[in-house]
Amino acid sequence: MKVGGNTRDYDETLRRLEQDNDDLRGKLARHEFRQMQQELTSEDPFRLDVLGPQATAPGDVMLPDVDDVLLPRLPVPAGTIARDLLSPDLPVIAVHDDGLSGRPLAAALMGLLKTQYDKPFARLVFLCSGFEAVPFLGRYGFAVEQVGRADPATLLPRLRRRYGVVQIRSVGSGDLIARWQGG
């Protein structure tokens, strides 16, 4: 890189590129948010039509804990509705679906995700008791764990180790279900 005017040009180009990038990210996030809104307010959100003989899975497969092994913490994606790069200081919060499904779940998610879109307050890991919202949450780039009928509070140690989760909250009320007390 030459010194003088060329360096300034280079810096200016970089700044412009960064600004363009930010603008583009904002536009994309707005588009994603609108599409998400449309899905969540549709007549039959999360609808899945499966033909043929329906069977009921015998139950949840619970993985034994692997708490005797040192494992690295995994990142929690910001989701595609994030207009800005999320600050690394934001807490990681797990959101339990309270066993809700269909429109009540969609309404609860709408409230939460609108807040997140307007003013990001956390990195979110969704804890779903069923599978119905999994494709939706996956499409918008969120981390999602299917936890079946497990008491969400008992999941905190694993979620802490895997994602650095500090709290588990209810999707509907926002109530605190569990808070990490350890170091």
């Binding site: 497969v61 913490r73 599978f131 494709p135 981390a143």
Partner: protein
Amino acid sequence: MSGPRPWLAHATDPLPQLLSEHPSLDGAGGLIAASQVAALADWQSIERWPGEVSIVLRRIGQEEPAEWRDGLAILLRLISGSRKDVRLLALNPAAADFLARETGLPVAALPDLPRRYAGACRLTLSRAEGPLQILRIEAGPLPARQYNLARLRRMAVIDAAPGDPDLSDLAAHANGVAGADAGDGARAPVVVVVVPNGIGLGHVTRMLAVARHLRQDRGARVVFWSFSRAAGIISRFGFETVLRQTAQHLGAETGDWLKWETEEFAALLRGLKPDLVVQDSSALQRFVVDALARPGSGAARLALIRRGMWQASVLGTEALASEELADLVLEPGDLASEADRGVTRGRSANRTGFARMAVSAPVTLTGRDEVLDRRSARRALGLGRGRLCLVSLGGEAIGDWNLLARNLVAAADRARIGLVWARSPLAAPDPMLGLRPDIVTRSVYPLAPCLAAFDGVVSSVGYNSFHELMQLYDGPVLFVPGRHSRLDDQAARAQFAASRGWATHLAEGGAQHDVLSAFMADVRAARRVPARPEWRNGASEVAGALGDLLGAGG
């Protein structure tokens, strides 16, 4: 909570892989040190262990005789100075006698394992070069760490290279004894299916087809380890499902993510002790192989289901190397296999590992007896009268999608044909398609039972769509190949079908107007195409081959 692991062992010692084969030892709550070396290395854990402790004393292996004797002497001093009640074991009665003489203490022989293999295949283990290896006559040695000894003992009679008494004891113990107590009761076979997060629903659909037969024909309990977000569909078919995230989903470093997958998959294996692990993928994933080799993971056989028709541009066979670690590589048959130009064509897996290769009839989830008649199919989809054409192009990269959609709509309009756009159950509703009320969308899984509802179908040429349409449908079909680099060679399939008169196809960059007009004319005329291949039950064949693996023992 799992608590501490119930054994102490040197990382390279294969004995712990066999301990879970002992019904009296596995999960009994006691601590087992797999050798005197392991006991010495972690004597504090033995002292702290609240319950029963057993130490398996081993005869001399690759160490120097003096080193072996010193180790044994130090251990005996620790035992005699401790208040801990320690039970001493050996791998067989002869070893127990020898070690009792050496130590002056009672040494009991581990119970014999039941024989699990009675065929003619033999393999030789050796530690002469350091790490444990599997020696072969016609090829170089294989690293044994990739295999679980509990699994190897179901694949062959195990011999030990001369000059290693401990390895001879291990091999003899692994081979087991006919008539020994199996202790596994009448448990239904357990199969774990690993499905990746592919493009669309190809892997999930194929494995659902096979899993249904495993459950129905073999009474198997099938558990899915699913990276696909179609986990809800799997669950609706009545299968237990563990939803997983890929490294890409999380934006995680592959290495970090692999550590989690390996540990948690191994935990699943420890809990379920499956008889078989099956992965439907282009290659075995490392976490599957690594977890299976872990002590306590049980003795599951390993199968890879890998479809053919790879794109010719995918060069080299490096991606296929992992298949050698499977016991069985099954290729679901492809009606267009004559046109296969990919690296898997004619591939035999039995080159460096133990994998056998087999090809089945084409696999479809929908069977001939599940196909609805026209009236029932239209009712199931909520469709009315008139000429209707299904458009099922998936989420695949198809040249200029917008141009194709416009041309399709125009051609259908000219022929007075209604279009029904299939939407993947994983996809978001497309707001553009809702702009015209005369354009109908359906998101139903599986769609194949309802094909009779349509007077024609425009489809991409993925494995499942192709075989459903060519075997379960007799109306006009227009194939539009996808060209994603991760997909199979859809263009070759489409051309092959066209060459046989089974379908027409839209070539990349070709003029669309004439092809679409001719196709819509066929749809308008409700033309039938009777010359397509008969449906064959490939899913049942695959399940049969996997089921044979469950009961294999030579």
